[in-house]
């Protein structure tokens, strides 16, 4: 199996979009503030649907918000 992790630019994008709060973003996509905090910190990987909703809030394609960082394997 290919190893890797998901990273994201949500924190930066929130600040670039009028310093949007985690609570406001959460409200717009239907999750709690704590879930946004967990996603930002990379401790929770959102569902594909939630990821698309987040990208839609920032008017960006998904890959501009979430990135897959593949780990080098031998």
């Amino acid at each position: 199996m290919m190893e890797g992790s998901i990273s994201n630019r949500i924190r930066i994008l929130r600040f670039q979009n009028g310093e949007m709060s985690q609570a406001e973003l959460g409200q717009r996509i239907g999750v709690t503030r704590q879930t946004i905090a967990a996603i930002e910190a990379g401790k929770y990987s959102p569902s594909l649907e939630a990821a698309f909703r987040i990208a839609q809030v920032f008017h960006l394609p998904l890959v501009e918000v979430f990135q897959w960082d593949a780990k080098a394997t031998d």
């Binding site: 959460g26 239907g30 999750v31 709690t32 704590q34 879930t35 905090a37 967990a38 401790k43 929770y44 959102p46 569902s47 939630a50």
Partner: protein, 140 residues
Amino acid sequence: MPYREKTAWLSLIAMAVAFGPYFTIVALRSVPGALPNLRQLGLFAVAAIAQVLILGAGHLYLHRGSPQDAGTPPDERDRAIMRRSISSAYYVLIVGMILVGCVMPFNSSGWSIINAALVMIVAAEVVHYGVVVLSYRRQT
């Protein structure tokens, strides 16, 4: 702290306060196996009522503290944590019930079986709420 983590802590505390003394008394005293044993039944009733009262008062306190959070439906992360915790608790409960229902009747009877079943139910609940708390802690 997420509202659902607070309610999980509340459930763990209620169980510890209500059933901790109950199982301590049961373990220290030899309980006559014959049913109905009203004294033992009374002790169980006290533990059950104490748990209900602690949970009732605790939920009321938490609800007053953050009414908006209390009314928020669970999101996808809450549901994922719920699924994980319930499936972990299921294994504890199923193993416990096999032991209590299929093994214990051959060498025990009466309150021994009832108390063993209660131990397994409480253990499953501890695992359930414990996994909830740990999951929120790890993802915060």
